[in-house]
Amino acid sequence: QDNLKGLTIGFSQIGSESGWRAAETSVTKQQAEERGIDLKFADAQQKQENQIKAIRGFIAQGVDAIIVAPVVATGWDDVLTEAKEAEIPVMLLDRGVDAPEDLYLTSVASDQVLEGRTAGDWLVKEVGDADCKIVELQGTVGSTPAINRKKGFEEAIVGHANLTIARSQTGDFTRAKGKEVMEGFIKAENGGADICAVYAHNDDMAVGAIQAIKDAGLKPGTDIKVVSIDGVPDIFAAMVAGEANATVELTPNMAGPAFDALSAFLADGTQPAKFIITESKLYTPADNPQGEYDTRKGLGY
């Protein structure tokens, strides 16, 4: 991998809206450092237009390669064509784009629908035949992960008539909103007595929901099951305390595989797989949450 040493690579990151995102940024920087890459980092503050600007800026600067974590899937054709014309390879992180495949080298991403399905499958197994009223904490309205994780989860529970989603509201991917919405759900569902499980599109909202459940005098993890996605340290801490039941890991190390692919490509022109799917691993309290917590703590979550 020495052939990456001294290269300049531009990294257009979405922003720093969540702990997971911050972890991805710091892991990417770490990976670049290990390989001796000069990483040019541009934060887009959640705006696609800023990402396009950043990519154009990288092209104008003449970087050797570009990695992008696209905020949405659409709208990349023009700017990627421009990069191609300038012969700069582009790699996509954590989400694909709706653009011709020849416009980018590879896309390293998780399968968000699978994440939702994994969470759903776990819950289906967990409750068995018992009736289960689920409340759902959605991500930001209209964001891709929210749409996909909802879809995957619904796919998993469809055909299991005993599992129903009773209520679904957006918690904006944040702890505070997750807590507030869960409070509302508890009031709306007979003081929480009717709720069997909460499914949160990310761990932060789950952490907020856990607090709301405790404030309502119920036991999270027991009275109301908690399942969520991301695998951030705090959800493992909650598992240790017996307050969370399951999480699906989304690895923040997307850049590593991307750099590897680039290295191989630059060395002898090896075309990497177009879609590198990262693992969506399910964690439950049986998977040594304390250990997971400790290994993740320093990653910048």
Binding site: G19, A176, E180, E183, K187, V207, Q211, D234, Y301
Partner: protein, 334 residues
């Protein structure tokens, strides 16, 4: 005496609040059911008070700013900064009172900075506070280094989630703050001076009001209120979330003040009514939550409500219910 009371009840803010609560009640019959649980009151109506507290607190500071014909866009960012300060300090092992005091101090400093830009450098308030709105969140993230800084400090957590006489701490703090600030403003000449500056700053200065110091003070108060709100929000989730704490809350606070009847053109203001405005907004939000609307409709419902409330308050409709209006038939000197 009785008549005065009736007139009070007829003011548009309270009417709007009643309307929103009625709608909530219609959509969710258990809305007013309150039970006693673990030594405190528990129910949707209590949630409204609890969740509405941060915006209410912001609105208290914002009212002063708007009365001087200004606006403070930075309060959301200041919340994030102060929450971050308090959280990182307790995590670093400082005693809670020191951490809280430091956070409040930082809030005041942020506010004074805004005041300095507005009063001394004469920069337009919207743009002066935009600076801190943009940079402040960055500062907050710098403090937390992008993490959500979680803590387990019992005192701080009590501030966020504890209760006093069954009422949530946040609501109690908002109420106390409202009473204190209202008293200070009413019992001293500060309120009058704030109005004078808002109505005509050059005339006020010629009449011997030191508008610079007063403006600094008003923005400082807004920063202080933002700091309290920031600490409350962080304490509530036991963590300082620099990215999301207070995000877009400045708009809610401004909305609350305007719903409370204070004109964005400066002048007459009412702090208690701004707090009522904040409660109205939160009642709306909680109503959306418990009623089970699909989240895509949240914003539309909210927009519809705002339009409704503003129609209720507009002078056009106001003349129709002018019958209730108070100030028309007062003392006639001759």
């Amino acid at each position: 005496m009785k008549r005065l009371h009736l007139e009070r009840l007829a003011n548009p803010q309270l009417l709007a609040l009643a309307a929103v609560l009625l709608i909530n009640w219609a959509l969710f019959p258990n809305f007013f059911r309150i039970t006693w649980q673990d030594g405190r009151l528990f129910g949707s109506a209590i949630d409204v008070l609890n969740r509405g507290a941060p915006v209410a607190i912001l609105a208290i500071g914002m009212t002063g700013v708007i009365a001087t014909k200004g606006v403070d866009l930075s309060v959301g960012a200041i919340m994030a900064v102060c929450g971050a300060v308090a959280a990182t300090m307790v995590v670093a092992g400082y005693p809670t009172p020191i951490a809280v005091t430091a956070a409040l101090g930082v809030g005041i400093v942020c506010g004074l900075w805004n005041g300095f830009l507005v009063a001394v450098l004469d920069i337009q308030p919207i743009i002066a506070t935009l600076v801190l709105m943009v940079a402040g969140r960055g500062i907050a993230q710098l403090i937390t280094e992008g993490y959500i800084v979680t803590f387990n400090d019992p005192t701080l957590i009590f501030i966020g989630t504890g209760s006093l006489l069954g009422f949530p701490m946040a609501a109690v703090i908002a109420l106390v703050l409202m009473i204190l600030v209202t008293l200070v403003v009413k019992r001293t000449a500060i309120g009058l001076f704030i109005q004078a500056i808002g109505v005509n700053r050059s005339a006020a200065s010629l009449a011997g009001i030191n508008s610079r110091i007063l403006l600094m003070l008003v923005y400082g108060l807004s920063g202080f209120c933002a700091a309290i709100a920031g600490i409350l929000v962080a304490a509530d989730i036991r963590g300082a979330d620099a990215n999301n704490s207070g995000l877009w809350l400045e708009l809610d606070a401004i909305l609350a003040v305007v719903i409370g009847g204070t004109s964005l053109l400066g002048g007459k203001f009412s702090i208690p009514l701004a707090v009522v405005g904040a409660i109205i907004i939160q009642a709306m939000n909680t109503g959306i939550l418990v009623s089970g609307f699909r989240p895509e409709f949240n914003l539309i419902v909210k927009a519809g409500m705002i339009i409704l409330i503003l129609m209720l308050q507009s002078p056009l409709v106001g003349t129709a219910v002018g019958f209730f209006k108070r100030d028309d038939k007062r003392v006639v000197s001759k």
